[in-house]
């Protein structure tokens, strides 16, 4: 009687509520990307070409991979402001190791990545063991990484890198376009992390910790280990991004990455992930990065001044967060 009637009512309501919220937060960014592409295609006949899209992908590769790390951190309700500087440090370490210390490209790359992973671990340790807010921790490590980079490199760009380090910048032909191996690596990483988040227990635990950390703890999940792991993995992503940056520009640039923290957060937000943690789809961050890249490319093709890119990005961020909030409130009614 009671349970039966409840079940009938819930069945009706259930089919209404069931998929709405996640669908909107997944479709929104993609819709925005498609709309933007449609718009720019109408404004310039050079936009809609395989070569141009390949170019845009190459341009977002570094931010794209940094955004993987950032998304994971944000999913646990944290934020990583140090990502760009850690990446720059990684690229300086690996390029100096190859050029000045004469290490083989492979060893140099591993060395650089080890440094970024160490910074990721440091961030995670300060957040979990010393219990400091991630905003503060990563603000501190941002400055530490920056200073070390400048001191070690004497603020000089490192050039003359061995070809072995630049492989990810090499291209292969796919139809009409020249695609870099770096692009393929970025897409692969996104695919793997997406799978892990969706199809493994650890992935679920990331969402649980971000959504309700105390609940996760009470269910026996080691939140300390999980958060530590997330920040350390993010450090690994920044190391790979460092290699991609080096492969793209051909140099180790100590001034690189200074705006990457805000740019990666922009990609994450545009992709529909909530800064409060526990909600979001990692592929959204790729879409978010692409949205920024498409606007930058499209506006240049249209001959529009760069300052408008900045304006539009700001408007998009607010729209993204507002849409997400509105759709969530509606699905709760």
């Amino acid at each position: 009687m009671g349970a039966g009637a409840n079940r009938q009512r819930d069945k009706a309501q259930g089919t209404r509520d069931k998929g709405r919220e996640p669908i909107i937060s997944a479709i929104g960014p993609v819709a925005a990307l498609l709309l933007a592409c449609a718009f720019f295609a109408s404004q310039s006949d050079r936009f809609l070409s395989a070569q141009n899209f390949s170019l845009i992908l190459q341009q977002v590769v570094v931010i794209g991979v940094i955004a993987i790390g950032q998304t994971l951190v944000v999913l646990t309700a944290g934020i990583d402001l140090s990502c760009g500087m850690v990446m720059a440090l990684g690229s300086i370490v690996m390029s100096k190791a190859a050029v000045e210390l004469g290490m083989s490209p492979g060893a140099a790359i591993v060395g650089g990545v080890m440094i970024t992973v160490a910074f990721g671990f440091l961030n995670g340790a300060l957040v979990t063991l010393v219990r400091l807010p991630s905003f503060i921790v990563t603000l501190g490590t941002l400055n530490i990484a920056f200073a070390i980079t400048q001191i070690y490199s004497e603020s000089q760009t490192v050039s003359g890198l061995p070809d072995g380090m630049l492989v990810l910048g090499d291209t292969f032909r796919a139809g009409n376009a020249a695609v870099t191996y770096g692009t393929v690596l970025m897409l692969t990483l996104y695919g793997l992390v997406w799978l892990a988040l969706r199809e493994t227990a650890v992935g679920r635990h990331v969402y649980a910790v971000g959504n309700n950390a105390e609940a996760a703890r009470l269910m026996g999940i080691s939140t300390t280990r999980l958060i530590l792991g997330v920040y350390t993995f993010a450090g690994l992503m920044y190391g790979i991004a460092a290699l991609l940056a080096v492969a793209r520009t051909g140099v180790g640039d100590p001034q690189a990455g200074q705006t990457d923290n805000l740019d990666s957060i922009t990609a994450v937000v545009l992709g529909g992930t909530s800064l409060f943690g526990g909600r979001g789809v990692i592929l959204g961050s790729l879409v978010g990065a692409l949205i920024v890249g498409v606007f930058r490319n499209g506006l240049t093709l249209m001959g529009v001044a760069s300052v408008y890119q900045i304006l539009i990005t700001g408007v998009l961020v607010i729209l993204a967060v507002a849409t997400d909030q509105v759709s969530r409130r509606r699905s709760l009614r």
Binding site: R7, Q8, E199, A201, R204, Y207, E214, L218, M219, G220
Partner: protein
């Protein structure tokens, strides 16, 4: 007081102590949970009920005393240890992840992996099986939530409570509930009390804390009365009146 039972308690606490600075929340408290029973824990504010439950569920580590499961001494360093002993808890604030689905919450911390290499090496989840098991489980408890794929935050308060109780009903050994009917209306409370009985009927002993005397006297087999961090009495609802129970609780008797 009830005559002593000679069966081995499923869960037993002796002399548990917990201090927070100058405040002593548990002052050498004892507890016995017998097989197949519903044990209600009642007490005034500050009697240490919630703290006791948290010590038994591993959510906090007591400063002194011992806990035994089936007569074995155990030490819980975290909630995971208690869960591994087959003790599941429904916390006062439910401890659910609101953005996650019913099925995901039911299996939180005990996710099922796919068979074979996919499960052991790649650690992939068997989502189909979890969905099916979740639906079957809810059916067996007669909980009327249609879709296991709904995010928990879209459910009503009573339904959310039902999910939290259902999750605890996966327990192998003991179910503990902290104020399961506190935030609910009459109809929903009725539903949760029926649920508690069904859990007990499955063979799981239940400890539940409550402020609500009518609810306590409705479902409990025995009542553990807590006062000032100690156990002052264990009574049977059939042998004592509500008024007397309250009097013991407040120290009047």
């Amino acid at each position: 007081m009830t005559p002593t039972d000679t069966r081995t308690p499923v869960l037993q606490a002796r002399g548990l102590v917990k201090r927070y600075g100058h405040v002593t929340a548990l002052d050498g408290v004892d507890l016995d949970l017998l097989p197949g029973e519903i044990l209600a824990v009642i007490g005034d504010n500050g009697a240490g009920k919630s703290t006791l439950v948290k010590a038994l569920s591993g959510a906090l580590v007591p400063d002194g005393g011992e806990i035994r499961v089936d007569g074995r001494v155990v030490k819980f360093r975290g909630p995971g240890d208690a869960r591994r002993e087959g003790i599941e808890t429904v916390y006062q604030d439910l401890a659910v992840a609101p953005a996650m689905t019913v099925a995901e919450n039911l299996f939180l911390g005990r996710e099922i992996r796919k068979a074979g290499l996919l499960g052991s090496m790649f650690r992939l989840l068997d989502k189909k099986r979890m969905l099916a098991d979740a639906a079957a489980h809810m059916d067996s408890l007669q909980i009327g939530i249609a879709s296991m794929r709904q995010p928990v935050e879209s459910l009503s308060g009573g339904q959310r409570q039902a999910v939290a109780v259902a999750r605890s009903a996966f327990a192998r050994h003991v179910v503990i509930m902290d104020e399961p009917t506190a935030a609910l209306g009459v109809k929903e409370s009725r539903m949760v009390l029926d649920l508690i009985r069904r859990v007990r009927d499955k063979g799981l002993p239940v400890i539940f804390i409550s402020h609500n005397m009518p609810h306590v006297f409705d479902v409990a087999d025995r009542i553990h009365i807590a006062r000032l961090g100690k156990r002052v009495a264990v009574v049977s609802p059939r042998e004592i009146s509500m008024a007397d129970a309250v009097a013991i609780m407040t120290g009047a008797i």
